[in-house]
Each structure stands twice: as C-alpha cells, then as structure tokens.
C-alpha cells in the first residue's frame, strides 16, 4: 500500500522532497500546497499530485503523512496542526527560531503521541551515516574529540542573514546536530567566536560569516566546529572523530576522480558545489527513512527533541558570541 503524502511548500526544498517521494516506489505525493499558485501547480503536475490548501491537506482523510517545507516561521504551527490531525510529519529544520516555541510545540506532539521527524539531512549522508555507525559499532572505542568543518561556497546576501537568526542558528545548527549525533551525549558548555571577514555587510547586519565553537559534555568530551560562509574550492563538509582506539573521518566528495599532474603538481577537482548536489542522496535517504518508519509504526530520529537540543546549542553559541562569555546549557 502506497503512503499518501501531503507536501506543504513547493520551493527548492519542497521540490527535492516531492520528487524523492514520487520516485520512492512506496509513497506518492497526493496533495501539494504553496502560497505561490504557479509553483504549486507546476510541481503538482510533475509528481502527479493535486493542488489543495494547507488546511484541506492536513485534514484530508486520504493523506497519511505531512511533509513540511514551508518558511521557518510556519513550522511549529504546521507541526501542531498535523499532530492534532493525528498525522506523522517530516519537517524541515528548524522547528522554530524560538526555543520556547519549540518546547510548546513538542508538548502538543507528546500529548498526541504523534510522529515528528526533523530534517537534519546530514545524518543521512552515506558518508556521515557510515561514520556514525562505525562509532556505535566500537571501531574507535570511546569518543573523545570531534572536529567538524563546514564552509559554504559563497555568502548569502546580507538581506537574507537578517531574518535567518544568524550563522549559529542558520548554518551551524546542522553541525550542532551532527556533534550530538556523533558524540552521543549532550553538551553543557559552549563558547563561540565569530567575525565578519568575508562580507562587511554581513557584519553590518549584525551577523558573522566566520565562526568557531567549542563545546564540552559533562563527561569531558569535546567538539570543535568551524564555519565559513566562503570556500573557493566548493562546499566543504568534513568531520573527524577521535577516540580511545582510533580515529574516523569523512572527507569531501570531489566533482570527478580526475587528476592532472604537471610542473605545478598534482591537481584534483574542486568538491561538489552546494547542498543540493552534495546532499542529494542524503535527502533521499532521509525521506525514505521517514517512509519506512511510518510504514512500520516506528518513531524515526532525528525527532523533535533533537531539534530542540540543536536549537539550544545555537542559542547558546549566539549568546556566547554576543557576550564574549562561556555559556552553560542545561
């Protein structure tokens, strides 16, 4: 039996998700909503769905699951609406830029005992997922030190950053989730540095474009994250975990394996340029994990709690950067 999805949002990420559902062989996009009628109609035509309103989709009897890919400000309300309608939801990160709002939203989800999965897609990247499985399998013993490097190929417009919650909430939030995922414990101490070195307009807009955060768990484990809004060689996505028995790392994915050797040296390709290329397989695995979980009546991770914890770390980092002080997280 095919799982029938209601997809909310037909923007860049909504399209990615809708196409994955349509190609999954186990689910289909039944209905689709977007504030832009043409965007909704075009995507609906492509994936064989019917355009409807958000409200109608959420209450529709022939919709089994909701995929939320609307603007951030609407996430918590739509999660609650889906939960109240008894429908499992896969929502793009973040639940909300407000930790308070996340907490109240999760109360509704808990009360309804409904399924909520949050779209931290990097957990589903085949490289990073394999790395995490090998940590859990014991390949490196006890985790001691995690290093995560994320660099975007180019900065967003300064206008964008104003509404983004800032780099720690908008960009580094993925790394906070990965750090928790890899370490398997909660971080209690957070210190952030930040600067506007790439684009002064980002600094003028009250944000940073170059940042580092170091965090520690109660048992002493350390994670170090560095971010830049610029990388001339592609979308730089690396992580390394050092443990008592060894080290595991996952490197970048290059455009091709071609290498040129001459008097300048040995030249390999730049890395894949941005997230739709780099994480195409991760998005597919994420959606298929959600489909499999609801088919089996299970609660997939990352869930609302994971969304909450990552947001708390992003808030703590933002506060640390603003105050210049170390911030404790409960």
């Amino acid at each position: 039996m095919m799982i029938r999805f209601g997809v909310l949002g037909a923007g860049r990420i909504g399209k990615v998700h809708a196409r994955i559902i349509a190609a999954s062989g186990k689910a289909k996009v039944a209905y689709l909503a977007d504030a832009m009628p043409k965007a909704a109609a075009d995507l609906a035509a492509e994936v064989g769905a019917t355009v409807a309103s958000v409200e109608d989709i959420i209450k529709a009897k022939d919709v089994d699951a909701i995929l939320i890919a609307t603007p951030t400000g609407t996430h918590a309300d739509l999660i609650e609406a889906a939960s109240n309608a008894g429908k499992p939801a896969l929502c793009e990160k973040p639940v909300s830029l407000s930790v308070e709002r996340i907490v109240s939203c999760l109360k509704t989800v808990d009360k309804n005992k409904s399924v909520l999965m949050i779209g931290f897609n990097r957990r589903f990247d085949p490289n990073f997922a394999a790395l995490e499985q090998r940590i859990r399998k014991g390949d490196i013993g006890e985790v001691e030190l995690v290093t995560i490097i994320s660099r975007d190929p180019a900065p967003p417009p300064a206008d964008y950053v104003k509404g983004s919650g800032g780099l720690y909430r908008d960009m580094m939030i993925h790394d906070f989730d990965m750090a928790r995922f890899l370490v398997g414990e909660e971080f209690v101490t957070v210190h952030a540095l930040g600067a506007s070195l790439v684009d002064k307009a980002i600094g003028a807009a009250g944000d940073v474009d170059t940042a580092s955060v170091q965090m520690q768990t109660a048992s002493g484990k350390i994670a170090v994250i560095t971010n830049s809004r610029r990388a001339t060689y592609g979308y730089d996505q690396r992580m390394e975990v050092h443990g008592s028995k060894g080290m595991l790392r996952a490197g970048n994915v290059h455009n091709t394996t071609v290498e040129l050797a001459n008097g300048h040296g040995f030249l390999g390709d730049p890395v894949l340029n941005f997230f739709t290329e780099r994480y195409g397989q991760a998005y597919a695995n994420e959606v298929n994990t959600f489909i499999a979980a609801i088919a089996d009546g299970k609660s997939p991770r990352p869930n609302g709690f994971d969304g909450l914890q990552a947001q708390k770390l992003a808030d703590a980092a933002t506060e640390s950067w603003q105050s210049g002080k170390v911030v404790k997280v409960q």
Copy 2:
C-alpha cells in the same frame, strides 16, 4: 515531443536502459519485447510500456527509436532490421563476435544512412569523459602512453566464458574502445599475454582470466591494458594518460569517503562493487546522449565503426594470445 522507444530485451541491461528512458523526461518506452513473457510484462508495467513482438516493434509507426539489449547473437540482425525500417538504434556492445558480420551489418547501416550508436558505456562515465575532454582541450599536450587497468570483482562461471568469445572479446573490448577513444588514433600492432590464474576451469574452457595487451599506433603511441577476473577490493577501473605536457588519470570510486586510522594504518573503503553501481551514471549519460542526438538529427559516437575497430583489436589480441606472436591490424 517525447521520443518513443521500442526496447528489445528486458534482461539486466534492458532494465537499466528502460528505466533511464522512463526517467529521462524526453523519451518514453512505448513498447518492449523479451523472449521471456514475464520479464517483458514486469518491466513493461514498471515503465508504462506495452509488450509486443520484436517484429511489430521494429515496424511500428509510433516507435521513433530502437534500443537493442538482446543476446549478442541477435544484435547484427536487429540493427539491420531497425536500419531497414529507418529507425535509429542504440545497440549494446558488441555488434557481433564476427568482424565479417559487423562489416556486412555496417554496410546496411551505411546504405540506409541510419543512425547507429554502440553501447560502450565507459565513454560516458563522468570521470573518464572528463579525462578525455581534457586531453582534447590540450591539458597534457600530445598523448604518448596510455595505461588502462580493469579488474572484475569475481570471475564468471566457466560455462559463461565458453560462449563469450573469450576475455579479450568479452571483457577487454571495453578497454580497446577506451584506448582508441583516449589516444585518438588507430592501433596497428597488438601483442597479448594471458593466463588462467584465478580459476583453472576458465583455462580448461579455453579462456584466460588474467591478461595484458600492449598496442602501438603508426605514429608510435603506446597503450597498455591489464585485466583480471578477480579483485578482492571491488570493481577496479582506472586509466592514466601520459603526454608531452603532463599526465591525466582517473581513479576508482570508493563506497564512502570514510577513513579509519589506528595501529594498522589508515583504512579507506573498498571501491564500488560492480558495473551497475560503478557505471549507473554512465549508462544514463549514454542513453541521454543518444536521445539528444536523434532529437537533433545528429550521429552520436561511439558508432558502428567504433564497434568494428574495437572488435578487430579484440580479435587480434585473441589471435596473439593463441599464437604467441605479434599481430598486425589494418
């Protein structure tokens, strides 16, 4: 306007091709034939095609192009039938195990001025295609020396090799095509070595499982190819081209980028296991190249002549191995 394909053959490769056509957005599988009714019906259901006989498909007015993925022995006849029906054809390699039959088949194609593309899929691998483009662009000056390494993960059953034409025609033929593609000249001298080191049953069946060939063009350029029917670390597919200004090479694709470091050293993943994984993108690019070419009224490469030349080299290598002598190719 969608190009309507008639797909002949619903086996492993037929499926790969049919699915690519169905996902191309520019073409569809209109009809599908296979000697096994169930195989035909299942694939037809999957890609939305109608099952029909080979004869009906070739003469059908609502079929624009023929994809031939039937057993080798039928290729030449089907190419001729498609050509006589005025339909462009994409045929899996080889046209025939007999050079004489290829020549007669190509005469028909020439006479009809019909389009024929041969499925040497490796030319369309993103890595190898990029390598070739950079040779043509002049990145390494004049090509001097080509080294190709191909190793299958495991040997085929000895039964299979009996009807395969032998390793040089069955496996190394891809490398002969790549050598011609990379060098851009015809080889005139061929010498082959071979042995049965992996499975004695292969030797007993009159074939080899470990082989090398070195070839030279009239201008002196050299290509060296080594093959093995065994590789414990995956499907090994590498090539390297040395030229007057530098060297270009394309390496293997590993399962993931994860690396484990401990007292044993630094351990990376095995390489992708076999051709459907390793060349999935190559098959897609091949079919899409064919679709684009016939949409534009152009003749794509590799064509029948490329199929003929690769077969001549495979014959020469087989003869060289059998006779222990150097063989000249016209």
Copy 3:
C-alpha cells in the same frame, strides 16, 4: 671559518642538536657540558668535542655560540649568561615557565643586543615552512581561520606532567607558536577546554590529556587548536589555513607509501611515530638557520619575543581551563 659551538646538555635533544652541528659542514661542537659525566663524555667522543663545565664554556674565548638543551628551569639563567658573555644562543623552548622570568631575561638580552633564537622546531619542518611561505606569498589571500591538530602517540607518565607546567604549556605551546606564525598577528582572546580522558592519573595530577583552545586576534582572525596525548596511528601533526582566496593544508608523513587493498578496503601506513623521526629534518633546518644567521650577523626568528608570546598564550589557556572563563591577553 667554522663556527665553534658550546653545547649545554647531552640529553635526547642535546644529542640531536650536537649531531646536526657536527654534520653541518659550517660549524663544530667545540665544548660540551652535562650534569651526567658519562653522557657528556660519550657525546663529546662522538662529535669530536671537549667536555667542560657550563661556566667555562660560556666564557671560553674559542666558543662562538651557545646551544642550550638543559632542563627548562635553567634556560633563563643560561640565556642571560650567554648574553652577558656576548654570545649568540639557540635555546630549546621554553625560556621559562614564568612569563615574569621571561620578561626579565629578555631585558638582559635586549640590553646586550645579543642574538637569541628559541627552538620552536616546527617552524622549520619542510611541510609547515612551505605552507607558511605560500601564505606570505599570497596563495590564499587574507588568513581567516587556522586549524591545528596535534596528537602525541601516547601519554607521558603522570609523574612527568606534574613538573611540566601542564599540557597547554608543555605540549600546546608549539601550536600557539605555529598559530602566531601562520596568522601573523597576536591573539587577544583565549578560551580553553580540557579533560582527562586518556589517563585518569593525569587528571589526578592536576592536568588534562585532551584539550582544545580557540583564540581570536583583534582583527577577528580565528585559530582553533586541538590536542590529545593519545593517537593509535602515530604522531598526528596537521594544520590547515583558510583564507579569502583558498585553503592551504599540510598533512602527516606516513611510514611508507605502500597501500594494501583487499576486502577490508585500502590500507595505508600509520604516520611517523614521534618527534625525533617526524621532526628530524626540522631540527636540522632550525640549527642550520641559526648557524647561517650568526654567520651573517642577523637575528633569526623565532626569537625571545616569540617565546614570550607563546608562553602568554599557554598561561592564558591554562587560566581559562582552570577558571572556565574566557581570558584576554594583552
């Protein structure tokens, strides 16, 4: 004319230095002192030197330069003695574990206008030196973010750490110097994390064995350093500098280039095991830089000021770890 050295200290590092001087072709070890008569005699015999007392060596008319490789507690006194005798000195790091004592020592050196070079050997590693030269040449534009990873193969005895000044002063001091060297600016903000995860006895002795520090310059540039007293795969020594035009990194040196591929994957060698192997060439280049500088009447870097600044950062990191707060450095 050969430069005549007085070498103070015939321990592990004294031996390394004395042998480099003896092999330099431009200098020789004239005299040698050590508190252990046999150690002094053995090394003197090996390098063709005469054993003498520290005092006699420093005042000897036929000694042109002093190499100080005695225990840390004696460094400042010996630097002053050499300076007062008008002799250039190359002293192992650190000048002193007390910043106050370094300051008073450097006053003497300044007053005498004598040459003092501090043995931060990593600046002379061919890989790291090349990296720094390429930064200065402009290969990556403006430096924005430095990442340094240093991991010892195994922890020292807990007894050792008691007198060492702690990890930040004993081990990470090299990384503080490298961070300054690569960034080319002074750091003003320091935050440290630390834990005892490798050996609880180290924690009981009041020190850490796993640590991270992040620092920022007044202009916003960031450096992140992580240290561990354990690495199962060898002596891990890496650095990476991200700038406005690109990224430069220097990796580890492996035992050999041999790689084994099989069903487990592709296995490369561990990295060189510890500092005498890994930095053998760095020590040689360091000493030869000192010899060339004094032959030319120049003042080589790193000098006393570099020693002072690294010590200030080590003190700040230690204080930050102890207090849990961010520390400002003047």
Copy 4:
C-alpha cells in the same frame, strides 16, 4: 672493528656511496681512486680517505671491501680483480652490457667463492622493500600481475644514449630487476614496444624514449613495465602487484605534504625530482646491507646472478623492439 673500504670512482654515484660509508659508523673509506685526480682528492679529503691507484687499492692488505663506481665498461674487469684478491665487492649496475662477459665474470666470482653484490638500489627503497616483504609475508596471496611505471623527469642528451646500450638496458634494467624481485620467478617471454616521442634526436641515435614491455613467467604470471624519458611532474616511480588475495602498491614521494585548494581544485606538490633525492635512503640502505652482510660473512642480494638475469631481459627487450617479434628467454 671498522670495515675498510676501497672506493673506485669519485663521480656522482661514487660520492653518494663514499659519504654513506663514512656516515655508517661501521665502516670507513680507507682508499679512493678516480681517473680525475682532483675529483679523487676532493672526495678523499671530505671522507678522510687516502688517494691511491685502482691496482694498489685492490691488492692493499688494509682494504676489506671494494666499492665499484667506475664507468660501466670497467665493471667486469674490476669485479674479477677484486674477486681474485679475495675481496667482497659492491658494484654499480650493470656488470657489463654483454651477457657473455657477465657470464665469464661470474665464473671467476664463483670459482673464488667471493662475495659480489650488484647495486640495484631500488630494492632498498623503504617503500619498495616494504612492499616486497609484505608479498613474501603473504599479504596478497599468489602474485598474478605486476605493473611498474618509471618515468625520468627529462631525457638525457642524445649523445649519452649512444653509449648507454639503449633505454631497455640503461633505464628499464632497474624495472626488470624489480619485476623479478617482486614476482620471485624468472620471465621466459618478452615483448617490447618503443618509440621516440620525446626527442627525435634519441630516435636518430637508434634508441627510444617511450617504451613498454610485457613479460610472462612459465607459470603464467605477467609483468608490464612502461618507461618514459619525460615526466613534467618529477621522477615518477610506482609499482603495483596484484595477487590472489589483494593488491599492494607503492606510490611516489612528493616534495611536501602541502596542498592548496581553490577554484582550480586541490593542488599537491610535484614528486621528488630525480634519483639522488628519491633514492637517497635506498643507496644508504643498500650500502649498509652490504656492510652488514660482509661483517656477518653472508652473501647479500642482489648478486651477480640477479645482474645477469636483468641483463638477459634487457637484451631480450631490445631484440624484441628491433625485430618486432616476441623473444623467448632461457
């Protein structure tokens, strides 16, 4: 007790060897001869030796071993003289360009039961030596296929090649020795291709600058060697051995580990430029192996038989290239 060497030849290779002996701690250069008095005097002064005539050195009572680094044409005579004087000899490759002369020379050595080691230095490269030891240890099971790539950074003057015996005897001889070393069996079938693609003057002088050879043992094992007199990216020295249980390979050594990433991609350093840099450690290990062997009264490899066999393969390759036919080797 120090082994006292007589070194014959103070040219480039004589210097390399004399310095290694002088630094060995277990041997010294007692006497040194060269046709150029100044070359002999300079090197003698450097290593603390006495200049003498070849004849006097060979018969000197206070000489324990002879190192022969004179021009090729004198090797066989000097080996015989040393052997007749009862002295072990380490001779640079080749014994002679004439297989007949090698055979007669080895008869003398056999009759005298004297020690003769031939300077195939690559067996002592730490990378290649480790690779061979791991084959013998069984890491890859039975050897099936060896691939050796050797490329010089730049061609020699055409004048040089005239007296060199040609590429197969002058350059590829090292690879013939390595192929035997790695496979552990004798090759019985040889086929060579060659061309003059780098420098037409080399072709005009009757030699090739680009070449490949494939060879097979009686049991079917295959070795493929390619050579070029040109490599824009340094001295290219690689080998790979494929076996029943896996593959071992040894790569190049790069100038540094520094890598630059930017919009062009990831650029690593060229490889070490030529043999004195690339094989510095190999020469040292070779000489020290000889010293240890004669101290222990053992016969080191590679010996005269190894020199003979490599020369036979070089002759067979030359004949194959000239005749265009496959050549059998006894």
